[in-house]
Amino acid sequence: MQKIFLVILTLLFCQFSHAQRIATVDWTVAETLLALGINPVGVGDVNSYNVWVKEPKINANLTADLGTRLQPNLEVIAKLDVDLFINSPMYASITPKLEEFAPVQLVNFTAENDIWAQVLNSTHEIAKLAQVENTANNYIATSQRELADLKEKIALDKGKKIAVVQFADSKNFRLYAKNSIVGAVLDHLGLENVHNQPGNLWGFINLTIDKLADFPADTQLVVVKPYPADVPAKLALNSLWNYLPLKENVIILPETWTFGGLPSAMRFARLLVEGLNGESGKW
């Protein structure tokens, strides 16, 4: 009798403790898993994740660093006993290597057009793979409610366009387009993107600094960190920059992963609204 009881207990225990061991090299997949309450057993380039993505935080005790994203350390992976890899097209070249350890599922967070639908779709896919579909539904619903709330809080003049940029150096920058999560967030917050067309596959276009003159004079410039250390100094000496009215109230946002999924989109939205309401950093 006792033996049967023990066996049933063990079987039940097995069912409950069968959490999938998921690993990924892609930061977008990692952040989505973390937002859904799953701790991946391994993530690529954790050092840089902590600098560029920042949240959701990776728990170093539960998640191993897999090394370079394009060449994850296979010996570390071998020791991790992974059940499933979730990979993205950007790192498709390593799929054959990963397949030797566990099945690989591909999820895509980029799109030429409707990026928001793509992000939500992929979030659902990941949730399905991790067997946490309910959490996903809740998370998405909460996020959308939060976006609606943030939209109310914005104090920006109607008709003002927004330009979200990242400086590569003092003469070249990226402008985020309609098909990036930046563009999608601007859409949801009822803000108008100065470049309301799709950019390249990753959602941006490269511009040189003189193209800033083509923006409408009252454009709100939003600069996302990081930028090279000498950019503020060089810009201060730049005659075009000093001439542009839009340089007067530039908003600087902390590092945000502009190629991410829902968590990064929400982080960007929160930081943007904070910035628009006056709480922005300085150069």
Binding site: S48, G67, L70, K171, P228
Partner: protein
Amino acid sequence: MVRKLNLLIFILLGASIALASILTLKQLPQVGLTELLNSQTNNVKILLWQNYTLPRIVMAILAGLGLAVATVILQQLTKNNLASDSTLAVSSGAQLAIVIATVFFPSFLIFGVSFIAFAGALAALMLVLVLSMRKNTNHIIVILSGMVVSLYLGALSAVFILIFPEETRSVVIWAAGSLIQDSWLDSRNLLLGLTVLLALVLLFAKSFNMLSLDDASAKRLGVPVLRIRIIGLIIAAFIVGLIVARVGMLGFIGLISTAIVRNLGARTFKQVLFYAAVVSALLLLVTDLLLQLVDFYYQMQIPTGAVTSIIGTPVLLYIMFTDKARTTKVSQESKGYRKEGGIKTYITLISLCLIALLLNLSFRNDFSYTIFELRIPRILLEIGAAIILAISGLVLQRISNNPLASPELLGITSGVNLGLMATLLLFSGASLTALWLGGTLGAFFVLAIVMLLSVKSGLQPEKVLMVGISITALYDAAQRIFIATNDFRAYTLLSLTSGTTYNASLDSALILLIVAIVAFIVIYLLNKIFILISLHTPMATELGLNIFKTRLFFILLVAIILTCVTLNIGSIMFVGLIAPHAAKFLGFYKPRPQLVVSILIAILLMLVADLLAKNIIYPYEIPVGLVATILGGIYFAYLVRKI
């Protein structure tokens, strides 16, 4: 004769004025001349023209001028018409210094970019000159040293870019050579710097002129030869540093202008200096204006520096082929006799290899089957590659009688890389097989070009190497443009070509190992031919050696085995270069012993490199080829002083 030059300058001047006017008209339709020069203007477009277009024009003129002057000085000091800021690694040195500063000391950049660049430029120049200035040298050897150092510094830059992609994002754009300006600041500072330096040049012009004589005569005429040389080098390095710090590497423009100017009749130092400076300034200006117009009409931003590199490569080739000065052949065994290497050395080497092998297999190993399964293919691949590289280096050095002949200068590696780049560009999600095919096609394409261009001279190895160097330079420029577009695929290309055994599979490793062993057996059996080929050509022919067929056979053999290595691992530099030298250094002169010992040394080097590459920044890996290159480079610098 000088009339042709004046005509050229007239034409270039006309072209620049025409292009500048077209550009201005396109940028500022319907603007009067007085409005144009109004410094208090409120018109954005005029402001842009005053602060972007004009400074860019001035910068092009100054950069072209400066680089030409530096090149002419270098050519005068080394008495070598092939010397320039690009071929003596001066620009690469400046760039590496800036890359290192950007990653580790970013705050320095705000204040002292020029000094950092100057330090890098001077260091690189010194390195090249120390390596190549020996008693029996010829022009090609100096350039070979310069290109080898340039490649080495480029490899070091690549390591930093690979490991710190975000920090170096700004560097890669500038590294392709961009003249874009956003204010008068840079051009003003450059003008000040150049004025001072040019004044110095004119001051010392007479002394530089005297260096055309041989050292003894010059000394007799009262010229402090060594001091003048040093001053000249410092001035040249400073000019290059100033320019590279502001606009990145504008490859070969100095070389192109001096070549044109000499071809059109300039003879004396002062003539060459003046005309090269003017031609260079105008040529760079015309190129940049054309690219600006391309940007205006087609919205394509092509970095100027990379364009000059691509144009410069055929020019480099042309000069090398027509270079009239031919000094004596480098004698091989002239630096005294070392004791013949014996059994003890063999045993030491083999033991060291075994120790390295054991370390590689057991370090950080919990001795599970999987770990071995992962490590063994990679180790086998490295051993196979080491064998092939050692063989290639030895064969090339022996058939060309040139101690600086190395597999990477043959151009095959660059051919494979060009094929890979083309495949990545054409097929976004290229599979490994597609990449292999592309790489092989690239290798054959380059081999065909090499053959075509040198078949007339009977496949003279020097010519073969010259073509190889040019193709390597061409690939370097193309890669730089690719990386500057910030396309993710560029980083894929970097990681594919940087010498990694990551994609090793047991099958490919065994195949490579078999190829290596077969090559070894072939070369081992061809002992007699090697002994013959180190004799002078007429004697060898009389002894029954068909020089052309022999060279053809060896070059083809080396090309095939190198393609196999590059496809599997990517480029590994210096291993093929130093292994044969190290073997000789240890006392093994005869072909067969040298072969065996070179192979052992190469294997040892690769295994040690692998140990470091996998564990220094665990769990992140550095490509083993890069580590081998760096280790090899250090050993190279040490070895060359003993040759």
